[in-house]
């Protein structure tokens, strides 16, 4: 068996999610290859060529792959699929967008968001917003899988000597074109890879008030997240959202500020090692999952915490 991992990158650097996905792949078989699809990605290939625990890096470098369009990426993956028993990608928005397209083209039923590998055919995945874990066994000859990266440790980004090769892309489908992007710029760590996350909810009251969240986050070297309510209210951009359908995080420390703790939010953060909840409502459901709950006015507590920590 050989396992293909589709790399997550931004055309310039390899994203850490790739390293977690390789760990999941290595639980299936030690013969793991990494595929990089992009345009002008020689730096990404050079980074991947250092990864410990993989046998080969394959790069398809083509203008049609510059924006990760699913209509162009899926045929490129499918063209390689013949020799692989498993095709894995992280369950990022890129992986979630492309892999089902690959899966349908290969006539195989994808297994989404796995959190554990039992054997080469059997996997565990969360369902019902993480309120249940399903162990599923695939009868398909070829498995297409997305991986919940927080459930797997990263492999070492250094120390490997995989072989490198290039393949041709399949060209532009003509079906879709990139128009523009509004990328949130931040010097803070990436939400899904951060060791500490500070998140704000509806209780923050406004986007302006998120400054006190950011001040604490910067003191701790943390990422900033938010509940759906805070995003819907326009306090912060969509990419801050932690939850069932937003980002799933599992940091060492998660600090929930002014977040009541809807099921859908808990689904995105209850894998965190330590959870701190700060909320004025002592009955808020978030306290039921918190290791340390502090009831009180966040506008007093947060500046005090930032000052003393």
């Amino acid at each position: 068996m050989t396992v293909l991992v589709i790399a997550e990158h931004d055309q310039k650097t390899l994203k850490p999610a790739t390293l977690n996905t390789i760990t999941a792949a290595r639980k299936i078989d030690s013969d793991v290859h990494v595929l990089i699809l992009g345009h002008g990605v020689s730096a990404v290939t050079a980074e991947a060529a250092q990864i410990h625990g993989i046998m080969k890096v394959i790069t398809a470098d083509d203008p049609s792959l510059a924006y990760g369009l699913a209509e162009n990426a899926a045929p490129a993956i499918v063209s390689l699929a013949g020799t692989y028993s498993h095709l894995l990608a992280p369950a990022t928005t890129f992986g979630k967008n492309v892999m089902p397209r690959v899966s349908a083209l290969l006539d195989t039923q994808q297994i989404s968001d796995i959190v554990s590998v039992i054997d080469a055919n059997t996997f565990v995945r969360p369902v019902y917003a993480g309120n249940a874990l399903a162990t599923v066994q695939s009868s398909d000859a070829k498995k297409v899988i997305t991986v919940r990266t927080t459930a797997f440790d990263p492999v070492n980004a250094q120390g490997g000597q995989p072989a490198c090769e290039t393949i041709a892309a399949k060209g532009d489908s003509g079906l879709s074109a990139f128009v523009s992007a509004e990328v949130s710029k931040s010097d803070r760590p990436e939400l899904t890879a951060a060791k500490i996350v500070v998140s704000g909810g509806r209780g923050m009251g406004s986007g302006e008030n998120f400054k006190i969240i950011e001040a604490l986050a910067d003191k701790l070297g943390a990422a900033v997240g938010a509940s759906r309510a805070a995003v819907d209210a326009g306090f912060v951009p969509n990419d801050y959202q932690v939850g069932q359908t937003g980002k799933v995080v599992a940091p060492q420390l998660y600090i929930a500020v002014g977040i009541s703790g809807a099921i859908q939010h808990l689904a995105g953060m209850k894998g965190s090692k330590i959870i701190v909840a700060i909320n004025k409502d002592p009955e808020a459901p978030i306290f039921q999952v918190a290791d340390y709950g502090l009831v009180g006015d966040l506008f007093q507590i947060l500046p005090e915490l930032t000052g003393k920590i």
Binding site: D10, Y67, L69, T93, K96, N97, M99, P100, R101, V102, A104, Q109, Q110, S112, D113, P126, V127, Y128, A129, G130, N131, A132, L133, T135, V136, S138, S139, G174, L175, S176, F178, V179, S180, A181, E182, S184, I196, L220, D232, N238, D239, Q244, T245, K247, L253, K270, K273, I274, I275, V276, F287, Q288, V289, A290, D291, Y292, G293, L294, L305, K308
Partner: protein, 254 residues
């Protein structure tokens, strides 16, 4: 323009689910079921396009038991013109009708109905797969605009703004296309009583999977369904000083 909107009857958003004691699945007996929230957003978006004069007809489709007619009526009360139920007694959450089979069913219906646009939820809140729209567009050879927070029809194309990990991204897709909805595409309306009454008279066709040449034999066998490990939360601290002390000396995370 004709729009097809697939919808699903799933456990209600607010229900706290229970795993069956024999670990075979989720106990759905006497549990409130509703239209999957992302699908409500899809039907709302289609309805807005029709109200704006950009769509002529909205066809709503579901797969499920006879009870799934409820969600078709709900969709017709919001704005769909007619409904199609593909009737099956197979479970639609786990171990029954899987995303690939749903995509094949929809492909067969689309070959008959020939819509210009499909708008559907990005995932259902029961099995949380997030696959069907992407699979459907692959089977049709159409472009896909997933996780949409804004769509705009312009000169025979559709511009789709997508919620992606880094922020927002806008793509231009040729038509026909498949769009999957994210939370912020719109806020679905509540159907008015007169519209609920009118919806009862709208056309609802019932088909069988065999009529469409599809089978619901699952590819994934559910070996067991368990509750996740419980967190022992509920701990409280009285002050910021105590919190900092606990984080430093007990949890050792800062």
């Amino acid at each position: 323009m004709k729009i097809l909107v697939p919808v699903k009857r799933a456990v209600d958003y607010n229900v706290k689910i229970r795993v069956k004691p024999d670990q075979s699945g989720i106990d759905l007996a006497n549990v409130k079921m509703s239209m999957n929230p992302f699908d409500e957003i899809a039907i709302e978006e289609a309805t807005r396009l029709k109200e704006a004069g950009k769509a002529a007809e909205i066809v709503v489709v579901t797969i499920g038991s006879d009870k799934a007619q409820d969600v078709l009526r709900t969709a017709m009360a919001i704005g769909a013109d007619r409904g199609i139920l593909v009737q099956t007694d197979a479970p639609t959450d786990l171990g029954g009708v899987e995303p690939l089979a749903v995509a094949k069913t929809l492909k067969a219906l689309i070959d008959q109905e020939k819509p210009d646009l499909v708008i559907m939820g990005k995932q259902s809140i029961d099995d949380d797969s997030n696959q069907t729209g992407q699979m459907l567009s692959a089977l049709l050879g159409w472009p896909q605009g997933t996780f949409a927070s804004k769509i705009e029809l312009t000169g025979g194309k559709i511009n789709v703004t997508r919620e992606v990990d880094g922020g927002l991204e806008t793509l231009s897709l040729s038509l026909p296309a498949v769009i999957t909805t994210d939370l912020r595409l719109n806020e679905p309306r509540y159907a008015s009583l007169p519209n609920i009454m009118k919806a009862k008279k709208k056309d609802l066709a019932i088909m069988k999977p065999e009529d469409l040449g599809v089978s619901y034999t699952p590819r994934l066998k559910i070996l067991k369904v368990e509750e996740p490990p419980k967190r022992t939360g509920g701990g409280k601290v009285a002050s910021v000083d105590e919190l900092i002390d606990k984080l430093k000396n007990e949890a050792k995370v800062i």
